[in-house]
Symmetry: C2
Subunit: 335 residues, 2 copies
DNA sequence: AATCATTGTACAAACGTTTGTATTATTCGT
DNA sequence: ACGAATAATACAAACGTTTGTACAATGATT
């Protein structure tokens, strides 16, 4: 491997000059800079990033920690963040926590020990608060939280307007004539889910419907728990559900189907996240779409700018068959 | 940040002893090792990985390069590889190429410059051969290819039995009574797709059916191209398709539907990859399942062991509604 | 008691960069 | 043409670890 010393020797200058030339310092003459660049290209030089990082005390790696990369939402956030960070000369180190607290701590340690320039993360369901995050990261490594955030941690945050989104989804169900609407609320240690639950409650109140706490099903985030909660909801006389997740909504649909209920005529449902399968299944599932690519972009921007505020990315309700009782709209092939 | 020198100073020994103690060298006395370990824990020491990497000339990072992380197949490969690598003390750096050649080269450079311990990769469709891979990686960085491999590159390879799988899928269609079976073959610069195409051809031959090359649709890998090729296939009188991808199969289904054909009665289809949506849509799509998690595990194992052979991971045909014309099996809710 | 293994530690040189300070070359005003 | 100011480069020390070699201490062997 060719080093800056090799280039320096070849040109009869010192390594420091080469280093400055290559990093575009104004302290080297235009002429030498060009000579250095040409020689570097000729000799096939490439900067040893590890050495550079050691000296500088930080790297050009930005760590992204997500519960699971295969979730549509998270892989799109990553894609959005990547698009910004790559252009800015960073590369991206992705870690999965599989929703486990210990894996999250380990990921944080790994990133810190690799001296990442910053961390973008959405915490695991297994994390109750952000103490461990602050502990591992300290105040040297900038943190940007997205989607699932601990609002008492410092640093920028990018969130969806969960309250308004869930409000709209619930109101939509009411407008479709459903009257006993339950919810699959998710985990309350996530502020995102808590906000959705509040939006659901407020919508019911504003529509003059009672808020029946027995229709709120907590800890429902995957297909299986959605199925179980769906059965209970039907048992309790629900005619519709707003689910804070798509997979649990899918479970609930399966529950309704297993009870012989027709969707959307006898049972309506709106999920959240707009996973790919929602528009491929039959009936097509209505879903409250997040805007993950944009969230990723915003998170990356926040990291780059260093600003600490909270960015809100709006959600969009995708009305499809599973909640369209009034006018059965005929959706196009690609909807 | 506390360094080994701090620990050394605190104990009255030298940094080298501390380093050896912490890495478990037999050259330090049990007693001192324990003292060092205690002091390290007490002072909250954590090894500076960047410095360590610089000195050792390599890192504990294994790079994984995939076309797109959100594909079910790839995210599962990553999951499988992670499960092995993490246990072995490595961490994983994930790069996406978005099927673009230039992005692939850039990812390779990034990984090499970060002195990764090894690279696991599945090349982009945009790559015609592996010259750039060998060029960037040299012979210092071990390479393991999976799924899409260039067989003339050195290093271990993990592949599916694409020939046998496609053979089985095609034969299944014949057994279901389809007689004019086309294929959405994918890109021929990928050996995986080429092998599937051969399996398809051989199955037709073995079943005594003619191989009509006009029914082979190349470059069909996404929904849109699948739709277009599906229309052409129907035009040409096909009554079934074996698709080397699920998304293109989905497009073909939509094409058949747009022509008013009933599935599977009038048109049968089998996809490949067993994407999540295949079992959620209506009709449920038959698919030739890869075993991505296992492939990831095998790739990681191959990296760890340093063995150079080719590992074959078997595929499994998931027969569902889209190709079940004979006996309409009633599949369970969770199938 | 002197010699020789053996064991444990210390010393010091790397790894390739970056960067503060010192030094030399150049330019400019007078 | 000389000194001052400025520009360009050289020098050298870091960043924190690892590791080959040298050294000292211990114990065994004759």
């Amino acid at each position: 491997m060719v080093t800056i010393s090799d280039i320096a020797a070849a040109l009869g200058v010192t390594p420091s000059t080469v280093s400055r030339a290559l990093s575009g310092s104004p302290r080297v003459k235009e002429e030498t800079r060009i000579a250095v660049e040409r020689m570097a290209a000729e000799m096939g030089y490439e900067r040893n990033i590890v050495a550079s990082n050691l000296r500088k005390g930080r790297s050009d790696i930005v760590g992204i920690i997500v519960p699971r990369i295969h979730r549509n939402f998270f892989s799109n956030v990553i894609g959005g963040a990547e698009s910004i960070l790559e252009a800015a000369g960073y590369c991206v180190l992705i870690c999965q926590t599989h929703e486990r607290f210990d894996a999250e701590v380990k990921a944080l340690r790994t990133l810190r020990n690799n001296q990442v320039a910053g961390v973008l993360m959405s915490h695991a369901i297994g994390s109750d608060n952000g103490k461990h995050i602050q502990e591992v990261l300290g105040d040297r490594i900038p943190l940007v939280q997205f989607d699932r955030v601990f609002s008492d941690l410092p640093g920028a945050k990018v969130v969806s307007n969960n309250f308004e989104g869930a409000y709209a989804a619930t109101k939509h169900l009411v407008e479709q004539g459903y009257r006993r609407i339950g919810t699959l609320a998710g985990y309350m240690n996530s502020e995102a889910y808590a906000a959705r639950l509040e939006g659901y409650r407020q919508a019911l109140r504003d529509c003059g419907l009672p808020v029946d706490e027995s229709l709120v099903h907590y800890d429902t985030i995957v297909r299986e728990t959605g199925f179980d909660a769906g059965l209970k909801a039907i048992e309790a006389g629900c005619d519709a559900l707003y689910s804070a997740g798509d997979f649990s909504a899918l479970g609930a649909i399966e529950a309704a189907r297993s009870k012989g209920l027709r969707i959307p005529e006898e049972f309506g449902i709106v999920g959240t996240a707009n996973e790919a399968f929602t528009s491929l299944m039959t009936p097509k599932m209505s879903s409250l779409a997040l805007n993950p690519f944009e969230m990723g972009r915003q998170a990356a921007q926040a990291f780059l700018s260093g600003e600490e505020g909270t960015v809100v990315v709006p959600m969009e309700l995708k009305v499809r068959e599973s909640s369209s009782r009034n006018e059965q709209q005929n959706l196009s092939t690609y909807a």
